[in-house]
Point group: C2
Chain length 239, copies 2
């Protein structure tokens, strides 16, 4: 019997599990003996948190890296072919969104393993919900370019796209570069474009605010410094 | 004291609450006495399901429609200005994603009401996780055009975008039109473009499969007929 690849959510902030983990997802996660994880250390800490049914030493954890080959992933998934469920977890949030986990899912799909995605927290969609920006047409762009000129060019082209199609633009940055991205956004977007900055989602100090670029310019905004943050903007739609 | 607008998830399939509702979100939802809902009838059924602390007759439910004005929403939110929490719920899944709820959130943002997005099920994100397609760059396009020629044009242009930028394209259709959209996708996309069809997410009969267009062509695919379905595709990326 072919088993299932379970896509198990993990925490994104410092809040208790009751805030983001459905009970049945927790029960499932406790049962699994084979995990594929973006980060083995984080995976062990997750397994302690959930109170796995198995001793930590008896749980197999395979660590995904940029060097992991298709062949290795197929090997890891071979136990699912033999009827043993596998769990996939990300370093934070939902696996296979904004992380390399989708490679594992695609291989599992190609060899006919059933995939079970479990509801969990995603900073991308929690921030989209709370932004008030268009949730019927949106793009997640991932990390923007690092070079200032390339960054500026991209931000301007994404604003144009947003204006033409009424599309919310979503991006993420490495926390220590947040202030730099924020400044480039303020410098390059139209004054009446709406910007949402969503920081420390699901944490005690969660901060989510949507204002026009003009209003952000006169606001103290160091709350995002070195905090995990999502940036979302929507330009005034011109039909 | 200004209160909070809670973005409360509701079910998307027929599964029990333990599969998709975190415990603290449930506790919060039970406490709220004022709801804004896409559909008042669905809202009442939700309130029975969760076992609200209040008698149904004592809970205020405002129903959002296409005719709801900004003025009305501001009126509805006035109780939050006076310290009373408000809940926003969609007809299914997470509010303010792929529904008109974002208008309420944006007005709440503009008058300084705190927004609390709660983790819940989203067919868009669950299908993206389970598709194995690129989760680091993706676009949700909403509903595609109805007229066959416009639909064809859009599908072709989205595939071009996908090929140029390695971007997963996500769309939704009214269930009785699923087979028509599916046929147009098969007719117009490249044979090696990957298509994921994700139907009845979180239900007993959940079906999520990713195959090339070529393979879909020789497969019996009536499982999606009249079932809530998300379509996702990713063209071979040409650098």
């Amino acid at each position: 019997m072919i088993a299932t690849l379970h896509l198990i959510p993990v925490r994104i902030g410092d809040s208790n599990m009751g805030f983001w983990m459905p009970e049945e997802a927790l029960k499932q996660a406790r049962k699994i003996e084979v995990y594929i994880a973006e980060n083995a250390k984080a995976a062990r800490s997750f397994l302690k948190d959930i109170g796995s049914e198995h001793q930590l030493g008896n749980i197999t954890i395979y660590q995904l890296s940029n060097n992991t080959t298709k062949y290795q992933i197929t090997e890891w998934l071979s136990c699912a072919k033999e009827g043993k469920d596998v769990g996939l977890i990300s370093e934070s949030g939902c696996p296979a969104i904004a992380d390399p986990g989708s490679n594992v899912v695609l291989i599992a799909q190609s060899i006919g393993i059933k995939i079970k995605p479990w509801t969990g927290p995603s900073s991308i969609f929690l921030s989209l919900m709370a932004s008030g920006l268009n949730g019927q047409n949106f793009t997640f762009r991932g990390y923007p370019p690092i070079k200032p000129y390339d960054l500026k060019k991209k931000i301007i082209s994404w604003e144009k796209e947003s204006k033409n199609t009424n599309q919310t633009q979503i991006m993420i940055e490495t926390p220590y570069r947040n202030m730099r991205l924020f400044k480039s956004i303020l410098d390059n977007l139209n004054q009446d474009t709406l910007l949402c900055v969503a920081s420390s989602i699901t944490s005690e100090c969660e901060y989510i605010e949507t204002l026009s670029i003009l209003k952000w310019k006169s606001k103290k905004s160091d709350f995002m410094h070195k905090k995990p943050t999502i940036f979302l903007f929507l330009a005034k739609f011109i039909k």
